[in-house]
Subunit: 588 residues, 2 copies
Amino acid sequence: MEHQEALTSFTAAFIDELAEQGVRDVVISPGSRSTPLAILIHAHPRLKGWMNVDERSAGFFALGIAKQSQRPVALLCSSGTATANYYPAVIEAKYGRVPLVVLTADRPHELRGYGAPQTIDQIKLYGDHVKWFQEMPIPEYDETLWRYARNTAKRAVDTAAFLPQGPVHLNFPFREPLVPNIKQDHLWHYGKIAALDVQKEAVVSLTDGVYEQLANDWEKVSRPLIVVGPHRIPGLNKAVLALAKGLGAPILADPLSGLRYGLNGEENHVIDSYDALLKDVDIRKKLQADGIIRIGANPVSKPLTQYINGLNLSVYTIVDEAPEWRDPNHQATAMLHVSPVDFSEKFLRNVENQEDKKMGTEWLANWQKANDVAKDTLAHFMEETPWFEGHVVTTLNKFLQDDAYVFASNSMPIRDVDTFLLNQPLTLDVVANRGANGIDGVVSTAMGLSTGNKPTYLIIGDLAFFHDMNGLMVAKHYQLNVTIIVVNNNGGGIFSFLPQAQEAEEAFEVLFGTPLDYDIETVAQLYNAHYYKAHDVRSFEQALQQSQAQKGIKIIEAKTNRPENVQAHRKLWEAIRLRVQREINCDY
Amino acid sequence: MEHQEALTSFTAAFIDELAEQGVRDVVISPGSRSTPLAILIHAHPRLKGWMNVDERSAGFFALGIAKQSQRPVALLCSSGTATANYYPAVIEAKYGRVPLVVLTADRPHELRGYGAPQTIDQIKLYGDHVKWFQEMPIPEYDETLWRYARNTAKRAVDTAAFLPQGPVHLNFPFREPLVPNIKQDHLWHYGKIAALDVQKEAVVSLTDGVYEQLANDWEKVSRPLIVVGPHRIPGLNKAVLALAKGLGAPILADPLSGLRYGLNGEENHVIDSYDALLKDVDIRKKLQADGIIRIGANPVSKPLTQYINGLNLSVYTIVDEAPEWRDPNHQATAMLHVSPVDFSEKFLRNVENQEDKKMGTEWLANWQKANDVAKDTLAHFMEETPWFEGHVVTTLNKFLQDDAYVFASNSMPIRDVDTFLLNQPLTLDVVANRGANGIDGVVSTAMGLSTGNKPTYLIIGDLAFFHDMNGLMVAKHYQLNVTIIVVNNNGGGIFSFLPQAQEAEEAFEVLFGTPLDYDIETVAQLYNAHYYKAHDVRSFEQALQQSQAQKGIKIIEAKTNRPENVQAHRKLWEAIRLRVQREINCDY
């Protein structure tokens, strides 16, 4: 009985404080050693436990919930290799800056390192890929330990949520018996003292001196450019639009920047077709910036990175809320660790009087014109060209509701979203896992996103869909509503764009094509999903229409062809290149 | 061109040396950054590349091949979270002592830590869970680097294969372009010099003095016991049987020790029903040993561990080929790091003259009698009792071929195999993942085992089967022959045996039962598997019979019921307890 009181009081103090700190969702994978935590989570009035048998999927599902709720999400599993299955999601959370609180149960110390069953070394299991690791003590009935448990919950949530957001890991050893007593008196009051105010929001500001220096440096710039990569920072885009106006600068807006959607007239600065434009070396030369401000993560577009790499920049200011260095080109002239909103507002004030020194509207106008020509070419091309993977995005776009989530898988879908999902008044939330860009966990992350009860669309290739098929189980179990568009080209379509496709012909289909030849309709059946098949624009439109009348999991299989798809993309790029070359005559 | 020559020569030297050192199988997951290694593996005349899209499954598949082939198996994947998906299999390989050579491709140094796509920190990614980590250099066209590449391949294979066997990790940075030239002259000759003899087999021996001391200690022992846990050490069982004879000791033989199968008269020392016997505290008291020799990993049976824990042992000798301490009870009086075969032979010579001091045959005879009574009770019980999960094992046993593999999933199947798969003349190879005892990767490991072209049977619950369903893809693709018996009790059956089932009733079905309600037949359809359904002994026999006439993947769904299953197990243990209590009157 003493053991159970110790177990219950210590664990309840921790769990209650998680809830106090704003955690609402905990993704739980079944196990025995984690029983004390699982039962108390289940019993807590303000926590929702989501069961997910597959810990790899559970990790990404939690990541998706965190992206949707903008709150730290907790994860719980048992001891042993279960914990290692979280590793991919933990790494994505670190580089993608998503707050996760990973709770792993463990055997007590006397069983570790001595060959006991289901016992592995869980100390610092995720290495440097978590922001904080804490080994918890064996529970005791003790006021100081209760306060310690509460402070550790506070600190875990705070550390996960502080910038840069990311994962933390707490390891809990438990001795048997493992069942807590949820009828214990004052269950949620152990260790509760006056609330500790945890400062969750901090603005890192720069001194006025830094801004004056920056403004000085920017005096030299006549062809300014703002690049906004993937980010989900509230209020940033409004500030960036103002800054662009002040600087007379085009904004190259990543599809994951949020800057392309919900536009109502401010779009004249937002350039969305740069990926196609900058594929061509000659066009790059026509539109050379001499100063760049980059905000957010590295953009999806490889041509954009290559374009920047080739520029002779007098100023390249990278703004990052975290003390990290996201500059793979090693070109930055200023690496600013500051709130990007604060930066945009203050920098604007310092350069507002510089506008007369710029090239005026000509520089911006040329970008706009090139962008317009590219978009016009694309629009015509899509009408004239038979069904290929680009149509998946352009067609879907016509069916999207305001405020919908579009989750783009890595590999081809995010690139097609970059190319084909362009500026528009609809307020879309386009999301992807761009921390480490894996094709793992994509289904589960999208399912997590769909818990937000907004229309949710996932675009995914057949390989990534297969990789995380298990992620559908949680959607089936909790009757989530989500539309999954499986672009089925039977294999690794992205590799056909690489030199490997030509140069390693004999080995190519074996090593890179990797056709899986599996039947998507059977997968739909396995998870009680509605299934629709599309093989051209018309059937895809019908499928979208029909699916919107249904609830639950809706899987639309969009059949495509790898070689045709490469060809269509290349034709499109060539068409854009030719027309822009012809119609845009600037030369900076 | 210079770049390609450097890339090709360095990478080819490494790959060729892997083959020289005896590696035959490489499990490859598709990716771009790993192109140099993948293409050269594919081109090498003595290496077989197995494609597996899901890296988690690939890791366990490699583990299964290594268990089957008794050779180190290599793994290859691209950069990013792909690498993290190997973590569960790497951990299982470490604790299960299976030799794996993990090759991960990486971005070059200038892209690391600077926000480049698909770039994570892969240095020491698996922490202490690998035996060796090496960061490789950027390839160069250089004689010393070629020799270094060859030596690193040698050392990787050697380190993985040396006792205790386990995983090693090499991380390869590559710059673009990534395609090697497999038509380069003398492709497999870079850096080849006179062969370095790598000493792969070493016998760790103890001095005569240690044996004399041990023999002295064992003079006091009158009730000796030998416990043989999971192991796959060649030649060990013969030596142990001789030792048991010399000591007059019963051998408690784990189902994964190999000692229960292929018996032809030597079985009189081998006790196989101890798990059921030792569940009862009173029977434990009747059969108290005062000296134990334990060889192999910790046994599957929890009652056995508890029994040992309660003994007053004058000598407890643990023999381990590796300098590890597999003694979770902290009771050992001698922890010997020595070849168990060498130990068994030499120790026997030192104690042969002691036999007259033992209790003679009475001690052994009492164990044998208890064992016989337990087995007889079990045999009657199985006949009288309606279908429950125990019948899966006893029925399957009648259909097994000589030399077959039986892979038992963790959780219930391995425990049922312990209870129901008893001594017999058939030479079975019973295998499980008992390094960390996870329910992850079970299907993939069994698929790896089945590449050995012996009849392969997997017994697995519906949760573990779901967890690693992706593992079936490789079986479909390579047309492997395997029989999968899915014991479908729609959830986590093992938890019904735990106190959680009673004490946490309200939360139990949600947190532990976790029914997935999925249709096994649809899974079979998805992977082009033959499907059979069984709901009693008769239909299960028919399914086994029919399946044996087919090739490919054969899935037999054995429908069971969780509460009935717990009840049947408890009734069996009670029946054994009652009869043994009545018929065995010894009291040591």
